[in-house]
């Protein structure tokens, strides 16, 4: 593996790629190519990860979030190593004659070459468009040189569910957020549909009027300690309820039979015996997650979108800027995790 990369060479290769795609089109191999770009999307992943997973997520995202995609595959090594390759991905929308193509750059880097990486990546970002960094590796997130790359991005995405210690990672994320970094956590994205379901219940004036009755919020989860998603959900619920004048007690419950990290059940309960009782039970699997809602005697069943990287990233990439609801919940979640671990 070589030890240097020249960004100019990569840019030249990208330009040549477009010329060759254009020539293909002139020779009748395709009826025109349309170049699309709305952002630079950089993914940091471990070299040991199967790159096809990452690229297939990128491919799925392209029609909705066309971008110059960079995948940086990092290997644990003390030797300074950097290498790159450039290619394009094209697709033909159904019923159309023109291909849409996006640029893709793959960079291989060792831990030791991370300090050199920012200087390589920065010139490769598309001018005037947002840069989003998706860090898939808990190990790389913890490396001292990670911050230099993170600085390039307008938004940093990670999945705290993949970190071993939920309380610890929340503290780290909270620290970055306080320092001004715009963040997105896929563990938070994963609870959007549950939050939406809860919000929808209180669109009813009948239930809204009874919101003050709620005296207890109970969250059940798989595993022995609350995952970050549980902290986030609890933080959001408490913030919202308090803003409406309710001051419920929070309780956790471990559901040993459920997979660790999964939210199993959320209950909002009124103080009186015959008071309001709302329960949301998670069911299904990652491909077809479901929610069963019980509000007093009324029951309904909801099917959520699949829980995969594509669906989660699609939502996060739609919010390139700050998300005040997330930032507020993050602050509270950090405090809840600290209190729980005292």
């Amino acid at each position: 593996m070589s030890t240097t990369i020249q960004p100019e060479r990569i840019l030249r290769e990208l330009a040549e790629l477009w010329v060759s795609l254009g020539k293909d089109s002139e020779h009748g191999q395709a009826s025109g190519v349309l170049r699309a770009c709305a952002m630079t999307l950089i993914t940091l992943a471990e070299e040991t990860e199967d790159p096809t997973d990452v690229w297939s997520t990128m491919a799925a995202l392209m029609p909705e979030h066309p971008s110059r995609a960079m995948v940086i595959r990092v290997r644990e090594s003390a030797a300074r190593e950097l290498a790159s390759r450039v290619f394009s991905q094209c697709w033909m929308p159904f019923g159309h004659r023109r291909q849409i193509c996006c640029e893709q750059i793959e960079i291989s880097a060792s831990d030791a070459s991370l300090p050199d990486l920012a200087a390589v990546v920065l010139p490769l970002t598309v001018p005037d468009l947002p840069v989003i960094l998706w860090c898939r590796s808990a190990r790389v997130f913890g490396l001292p040189d990670f911050s230099q790359i993170a600085k390039i991005a307008q938004k940093l995405l990670l999945d705290s569910a993949s970190f071993p210690n939920s309380a610890e990672v929340l503290v780290k994320i909270g620290r970055r957020s306080r320092a001004g970094q715009v963040l997105g956590d896929l563990a938070w994205t994963r609870i959007t549909r549950i939050r939406e379901l809860i919000s929808q219940i209180f669109e009813s004036r009948k239930y809204l009027a009874r919101l003050n009755e709620i005296a207890e919020v109970k969250i059940s989860f798989g595993g022995s300690v609350p995952p970050t998603a549980a902290y986030y959900l609890a933080a959001w619920l408490l913030d919202c309820l308090e803003s409406a004048g309710a001051h419920p007690r929070l309780s956790w419950e471990s559901a040993p039979g459920d997979p660790p990290g999964q939210l199993s059940r959320i209950e909002l309960t009124g103080a009186a015996e015959d008071g309001l009782h709302i329960a949301i039970c998670a069911s299904g699997d990652r491909e077809r997650p479901c929610g069963d809602v019980q509000i007093d005697s009324l029951a309904s069943h909801t099917v959520f979108p699949p829980d995969n990287d594509y669906v989660l990233l699609r939502e996060e990439l739609s919010i390139p800027g700050r998300d005040p609801v997330y930032e507020k919940s993050l602050t509270r979640a950090v405090a809840l995790a600290a209190a729980e671990n005292q």
């Binding site: 909705e64 379901l197 929808q200 009813s204 809204l208 803003s243 509000i295 609801v325």
Partner: protein
């Protein structure tokens, strides 16, 4: 009690529908099966409906709730567009489907409706909110509204709204009369006149394009715009609806509502806010600014056409007069074109050419804004194609926006050629766009009337179209005057040629 739902997260959550019951008159009809129920199911699939949601279908055919559910299941599975049918979602949605047989002409049916609605309200927690959807013959709108009012169903614990489909009258007087009858029962703010064209994503995108960007609006006036063409072409004929179509015609069926609404969206002034009445005020103002043609000017500024038989793709295609249920001497317009002018400072002198027709070469709806040519030919006359800049807003079939401009041909010398820069809505955003009925039903249940037509807009449109209709009715046209599969009568080309223009070929 908190005044607002504290759990809202507008950055991430979709707009939510409050608990309510939708009462559909004409529940056994085509619109319900093909459009309304698939749209409601899709809203359920997207988790937009509240837990307390119900549909009560009404028509004359006797049916049980379960039979209605089964019938609707088949329709939804058949007519759902770009979307999977999910048995689990259907099962939950179907629990909220109810049916009762009833005749609009029978006063007792409204008392039965009141009883049934109360049961549904108690069982499904719909909070007394009711949306009445009249998917019936237009002649039944006033009768249904009267029955609803007499049974005390126009008011209640929650909101009560009524949705009606076009045509809103067949002329200005009948449109006014219909509004008066509806207003005896419902306030204007609770009357939702649906124009499904306004629910299309690209029509809404016109507003985003014009008012969300800073670069186009400064060019959007008589100083820079040379002319505007609006085309709504259909390749099909009347498809067995000859009897209905014979009474309507292209001018009434398309221009009076859809195309004048599109013209209003293109030409209206910016609204101060995106509030329903603020946007509708501007649309209405624009419609009232369209110059009403004097009787003497009508034949010079409008063209009526009717297709004759032809061979298309090796198959014989019948002319309109040969269609089933059509009078052999019919004077109905299957093609209508008109030149309109807007009498305000922004648009004075800019012609708006509108055309619509059946059996044209292809199905296409688009708006073309032609800008003035560069004031001076810097590069001389090299025989280049120097057609002026053109901005095309495509509504169907491929929703998108194209900008045509001149570029230098590669190589020595300064030769220019037009190139097109395309934005394609479908391929730029891979996400499925909601159907017009999904958008409009959602809006009606939320209480957002931005995309619905208000009484003054309906009257203003009739005010523009009626003088043309009156002249056409008293004129005997030499029909058929265009072959099926062509771009309409020669007279339409001549109408533009007189002003130094030509129709685009979409």
């Amino acid at each position: 009690m908190p005044l607002e739902n504290p759990f809202q997260d507008p950055l991430r959550f979709e707009r939510r529908i409050p608990e309510c019951a939708v009462v559909i008159y004409g529940a056994n009809g085509d619109l319900t099966k093909r459009k309304l129920l698939p749209a409601l199911y899709r809203l359920a699939y997207e988790r937009r409906l509240s837990t307390g949601f119900a549909v009560l279908g009404i028509s004359r055919t006797p049916m049980s709730d379960d039979q209605f559910r089964e019938k609707m299941r088949e329709s939804v599975a058949q007519f759902l567009e770009d979307s999977p049918f999910d048995e689990d979602v259907w099962a939950g949605f179907a629990q909220g489907l109810y049916y009762m047989a009833g005749d609009i002409a029978d006063a007792a049916s409204f008392s039965n409706l009141a009883v049934r609605l109360k049961e549904i309200e108690d069982g499904r927690h719909t909070a007394g909110n009711v949306l009445f959807y009249l998917s019936t013959q237009p002649s039944q709108y006033a009768v249904a509204a009267k029955g609803i009012g007499a049974a005390g169903l126009a008011t209640g614990n929650g909101w009560r709204r009524i949705v009606i489909e076009k045509p809103f009258g067949h002329d200005l007087a009948s449109a006014r009369e219909l509004s008066e009858r509806l207003h005896e029962v419902f306030r204007e703010s609770d009357v939702y006149r649906i124009d499904h064209y306004l629910g299309k994503e690209t029509v809404q995108n016109i507003l985003a394009f014009r008012f969300g960007n800073g670069i186009f609006e400064p060019l959007w006036d008589r100083k820079y715009v040379n002319s505007v063409q609006i085309t709504a072409a259909e390749s099909i004929g009347v498809e067995g609806r000859g009897g209905y179509y014979q009474e309507a015609g292209a001018l009434r069926d398309m221009i009076q509502n859809h195309l004048l609404q599109i013209m209003a969206t293109i030409a209206m002034e910016p609204s101060a806010t995106f509030q329903p009445n603020s946007v509708r005020d501007e649309r209405s103002k624009l419609l009232r600014s369209i110059r009403v043609m004097k009787a003497d000017d009508v034949l010079a500024n409008s063209v009526s056409g009717q297709y004759g038989p032809a061979r298309i793709g090796g198959a014989d295609v019948a002319g309109f007069r040969q269609e089933k249920g059509v009078d052999a001497q019919s004077q109905t317009d299957t093609y209508a074109a008109a030149t309109f002018f807007v009498d305000n400072w922004r648009w004075a002198g800019v012609p708006f050419f509108i055309r619509t027709g059946k059996r044209l070469p292809k199905r296409v709806t688009e708006i073309a804004i032609q800008f003035n040519s560069a004031p001076h030919a810097v590069f001389g006359d090299n025989g280049d194609d120097t057609t002026p800049n053109l901005l095309i807003l495509r509504i169907q079939p491929e929703e998108g926006i194209s900008l045509r401009f001149l570029s230098k041909r590669p190589g020595a010398g300064m030769k220019l050629r037009p190139v097109s820069m395309d934005f394609n809505y479908g391929s730029s955003f891979g996400e499925r766009s909601p159907t017009a009925y999904e958008t409009l039903l959602l809006d009606a249940m939320i209480g957002d009337a931005t995309l619905y037509t208000r009484q003054d807009m309906v009257e203003a449109s009739w005010g523009v179209v009626e003088p043309i209709m009156n002249v056409w009715q008293n004129h005997k046209f030499e029909f058929p005057n265009y072959d099926a599969g062509t771009w309409g009568p020669k007279a339409a080309d001549e109408m533009l040629a007189r002003r130094g223009h030509a129709w685009r070929t979409p």
